[in-house]
């Protein structure tokens, strides 16, 4: 496959995230970057990827990118539409879903995720974020977790202000001690490269760079002393095909639109 000229770091991030999903896997998809990447994977190398949305849509095959996790196109194209209690109790909780695909407002060196509040004071937060949604149990119960998030020092912090979803807690053994059934984060894909937990320390370290990014760029964008693997590889840039499909998908986001009434 030929590499494409002229792509953005966001596009590289989405392409790298899509490549992290194996064909045939059942994937619990959050809205935003994860949904875009999962749909790109399904439209390229993983046509049998099973998309599970928390609205109860199992096996959705949308031809256009949804704006929300409950757009009609997700129900119309699903293998089954089940209730919300069912999707969490019968499908997520027993570990039937292979990959949980999440984003984060803050992420720390042990891949814990914050989507609740920024600031030390929960009652008087600097920024009130949307909250947990499905993420705590997705992070706990999926067989493994893939995180896709833009990298900067505000997001990549030493310790998250609030643990909304557990990665590796405070380090090795914490997931087992807490009784979390899934293996936890496998990879964190950013607009600069890829971070993976060290097999012994569970601490995230840089293992791959996107073309054009440097180790120094990633260190600058990380709020802790980032470990770097001995042999940092460089990802393949987006292929022409990946880029064409991604851009065509982005152009469909939130369509079809109806009733042109705007506030």
């Amino acid at each position: 496959m030929s590499a494409a000229a002229g792509w953005t770091s966001d596009e590289m991030m989405t392409v790298a995230a899509s490549r992290a999903l194996d064909d045939g896997t059942a994937c619990f998809v959050g809205i935003g970057l994860p949904s875009t990447a999962a749909n790109l994977a399904r439209a390229t190398h993983a046509p049998h990827l099973v998309l599970v949305y928390e609205s109860g849509c199992l096996g959705s095959k949308p031809g256009a990118l949804p704006l929300s996790i409950g757009d009609g196109i997700l129900a119309d194209t699903a293998d089954a539409v089940v209730s919300v209690p069912e999707v969490f109790n019968y499908w997520l909780q027993p570990g039937r879903i292979g990959v949980g695909f999440l984003s984060a407002a803050q992420l720390d060196r042990f891949a814990n995720i914050n989507t609740t509040v920024v600031g030390d004071d929960y009652l008087h937060p600097k920024v009130r974020l949307p909250g947990a949604g499905g993420a705590p149990e997705i992070a706990a119960s999926c067989q493994e977790v893939v995180v896709v998030v833009r990298q900067n020092p505000r997001t990549f912090v030493e310790r998250v202000d609030f643990v909304t979803s557990v990665g590796f807690g405070s380090g090795p053994g914490d997931r087992e001690r807490l009784g979390l059934t899934g293996r936890g984060p496998r990879t964190v894909i950013t607009d600069l490269g890829v971070l993976e937990p060290h097999p012994e320390s569970c601490e995230l370290r840089l293992t791959r760079l996107h073309p054009g990014a440097t180790v120094e760029d990633v260190r600058q964008a990380t709020g802790w002393q980032l470990e770097v693997a001995d042999d940092v590889a460089v990802n393949e840039p987006p292929t022409r095909h990946e880029l064409e499909v991604l851009r065509a998908l982005e152009a469909t986001k939130g369509t079809p639109r109806h009733r042109k009434q705007t506030p």
Binding site: I31, I69, V81, Y122, G131, P136, E137, A140, T164, D174
Partner: protein
Amino acid sequence: MRCAHSHGRVGNRVAEIVPLSEAVASLVHDGDTVALEGFTHLIPFAAGHEIIRQERRGLTLVRMTPDMIYDQLIGMGCADRLVFSWGGNPGVGSLHRFRDAVENSWPRPLELEEHSHAGMANRYVAGASGLPFAVLRGYTGTDLVARTETIRAITCPFTGETLTAVPAMRPDVTVVHAQRADRSGNVQMWGITGVQKEAVLAARRSLVTVEEVVDELEPVAGQVVLPSWAVTAVAVVPGGAHPSYAQGYSLRDNEFYVAWDAVSRDRATFLAWMDEHVVGVGSVR
């Protein structure tokens, strides 16, 4: 001591079909715990607007995914408390009125009781099941455990395993939107039906707004039917879920959700918009 049966006969009352304004006036009271449910699909916007027009105050609002209609109820000062699991404008960003209430107490302080989706869904299941609490694998290791009183550890009496308990959710009134009802008040909905069945069965009273009333409810794949005797009132409000949608009747107005971001960012712009599009238009008959 008298036998419990001597109090009278057991009788099922059926849902009344009434105008929306009348239904809200009789079913939603100041200080009530109110759940307007809908998981992106079938969100009862028109009923929420009627609650705003009737100036309900001191409500505890309950919802898994508070979105634009809760932003409006909060911004108009209807709520003192919010029990929820995810408060945002899906795919767009923040709920600015929700954030302003939490961050700056405008127009009044908003107390939060915060859960995850799995926890909220199970709270409704327990409410619908007539149980005091529900059990799940959830929340473990998160800071929600210390922050939210209604998350507790529980030991399985059979295996000794530590699990999480959450109390039943029993709203005073649950409001949902559905595609249609028949003339007896049996309600039918399909598509993404979320947690609406559980939320209605968990509530002491319920109001269902529908796109239309038909003579007979033709079966639809994936349908959920709420029998008339499980519902308190039905109101006919075509388009009552807009800018959310009703599968088979309308599509989600995604442009409206995108445009809400700018309207809701500024207090004065928000109030002017609400005055023009909600308060000023009068009650739905």
